[in-house]
Symmetry: C2
Subunit: 159 residues, 2 copies
């Protein structure tokens, strides 16, 4: 499949797009706009929020995604620390199995936050340093389910 542009509406069933669009309020004497509280965060009853740094290797298109994962105990948010697009692969759940995958490409000024339990591909930068801040649940449970795909999802580049 070819990745779709990432928009808040299209992504809403899977999570939130973290970007400077829509309503904001001026702070710092008008020199900064605050787009307030943009993600449906959830760290579970026994967990707490943490910030980790991920350093990922860049991939290239076409990209074959053969593994999806989800975090049953919390949301997971990815903030790119460079202005580079990255690939976002998600899927719906059907009785514990991922189904109907979709692929999005960020515009270089967007992060994403996956809702608790949302099937998604691993971090897939296509260009840039591959450096991300990740806000997710810190807790005692494994908080990870993996599902290997018999038929990989192949993401094509734009022709």
């Amino acid at each position: 499949m070819t990745p779709e542009p990432l928009t808040a509406d299209a992504f809403a069933p899977y999570g939130d797009v973290l970007e400077a669009t829509g309503q904001s309020r001026a702070i710092n004497a008008g020199l900064c706009a605050r787009f307030h509280d943009r993600a449906r965060l959830d760290f579970g009853p026994e967990g707490q929020a943490g910030i980790s740094i991920f350093q990922a290797e860049c991939r290239s298109l076409p990209y074959a995604c053969d593994l999806l994962e989800r975090h049953p105990d919390g949301s997971q948010s990815f903030i790119p620390m460079s202005a580079d697009p990255f690939l976002v692969i998600v899927a719906e759940d059907d009785a514990g199995h991922p189904t109907r995958p979709r692929a999005f490409l960020t515009n270089g000024s967007q992060g994403v936050s996956y809702l608790r339990g949302t099937w998604h591909g691993v971090l897939t930068p296509l260009t840039g340093p591959g450096l991300f801040a990740v806000i997710d649940r810190i807790g005692d449970t494994p908080n990870l389910e993996e599902h290997r795909l018999v038929d990989p999802i192949v993401i094509k580049g734009t022709p």
Copy 2:
């Protein structure tokens, strides 16, 4: 004053440097390194973590900082969404007043997290789009104290 390079040791009294240094663990079949849980987050008993996007105007050096602020009810973390250095100004507290200010310059691959109640300057990008993800307390209190400086802190550029 001239800004110091931002290092974890120098910044520790004020907060945490969010960067890909030190211990990590390999995830995603070895294609990603996770630098785990790098900030001392604190959202207070009645608050919760939120992610907001800040769009700040760039400043230039020399920069006169005449206002410091602090958040009595929670930590505040800044993740740059482009690989550009920004200025970080902090101060100690002396009976409710900021004192002994210090200025740091990030290296372009660093975010910062201010400890709850730490005096700091407003967001001050020097180059780039000025786009940041901010992780701070979402709650019902104002969570803001401001202190206007009679004598501004003047940050010089490198000669």
